[in-house]
Symmetry: C2
Subunit: 227 residues, 2 copies
């Protein structure tokens, strides 16, 4: 089996993507800390997921410059994390400017050094928070940058859940026995999930719509089924 | 005047690019350390160039992951820096996998936060060392990634010296009074330039072909005029 680099945040989407990648590839798991509020909890989730999938390589990178540059409630304590609002539209305060290009670039550097053939990322376009760097056209354009800017230009980007809803991602994870109990999604808290930030709300709605219980502990568990 | 982010390594190419950008823009100077051998000397050059051009913003970012990932003689002490060989062809050992995509991504994040309209980088295609991420087509592709992956998609990439030879860059710098005496290019040494690494050889040849003395001190100053 060929080697693939998987960007693994510790969240549910990248966990399901790891499960998908693992079926056809040996995996190298990459976690990137960038000063986000729940960094330590995410790192714990990443380590446990990497153990679960017996990752052949694992690497944790620190990108403190994303926090230094700021502009996001995820990394700047002075900007409040907005409460989820499915009808608000627009880009929420948790958007980290051009974050995914920074993550992909590091992943490509590692993939090139490891001679990996593919790069998996758990971006979700539909049913996402409206981040511009989660759209399919962004990844298509980035793949062309890889082809032009690397020595071994055969590294492709695989976004296997980009077209799925959170509900479908939950169902796919259940089918593949993804360890949802090891994942972490909350943007605000590290002890129990808050249940009301963008990320918790999208996750809870996904589980609720799939009719599957979310194994994580929550401070609040609003009913988002109709949201 | 609008604001532009300029990637400034401390070397001669980005110094001339800063001079070019400064004519039409307010400038925000960005330096990125990535564990390269001559990091401290480059940072000194960057600071002095930023002072010279009275940069409105300046930011120094550390990308230690490029050193951790390795694969280059620039960041891995166990890989020797190759002696310049203009006839060898291929990609030299100093190539840092996908480095410029990592630099550009951080620069775009900063530009988006500062609401800068442009990004200047001193990449040189012709007369360069053959790095894949110094080619014009790489920058064209990256500009399309910016358009698709940012909130304010109007940030363009300006590569004003990409088509110039080192000789022409020297002449352009002289014309614009660029402070070549403040720059640093050597990949190997921090006290005096070695004169024989890829970077020194390209620089010295440029000055020699332009018929202009290079103000830096060198350990060796081979005649590269006919190389």
């Amino acid at each position: 089996m060929e080697l693939a680099v998987v960007l693994a945040s510790g969240g549910m989407d990248s966990c399901v993507v790891t499960a998908i990648a693992r079926r056809s590839h040996r995996v190298a798991l990459l976690h990137i800390s960038y000063g986000q509020r729940t960094e330590r909890r995410e790192l714990k989730a990443f380590s446990e997921i990497a153990d679960y999938y017996q990752a052949e390589h694992r690497l944790v990178i620190s990108m403190q410059h994303l926090a230094t540059i700021g502009g996001s409630s995820l990394t700047d304590p002075s900007i409040p994390v907005t409460r989820a609002n499915f009808r608000a539209g627009g880009i929420p305060t948790s958007y980290v400017p051009f974050r995914n290009a920074n993550l992909l670039s590091a992943a490509v550097s590692w993939a090139e050094t490891l001679k990996a053939c593919a790069l998996y990322i758990g971006a979700v376009e539909e049913d996402s928070s409206g981040y511009p760097d989660c759209r399919r056209e962004f990844y298509d354009a980035f793949e062309s940058v890889i082809a032009k800017g690397t020595r071994h230009s055969g590294i492709r980007i695989d976004t296997p859940v980009i077209g799925l809803s959170k509900r479908e991602i939950v169902l796919k994870g259940i089918e593949l026995h993804a360890p949802f109990h090891l994942t972490w999604s909350c943007y605000q808290r590290e002890d129990v999930a808050c249940g009301i930030c963008d990320s918790c709300a999208l996750r809870l709605r996904g589980f609720q719509q799939a009719g599957v219980p979310d194994p994580l502990p929550y401070a609040e568990r609003p009913d988002y089924t109709a949201a």
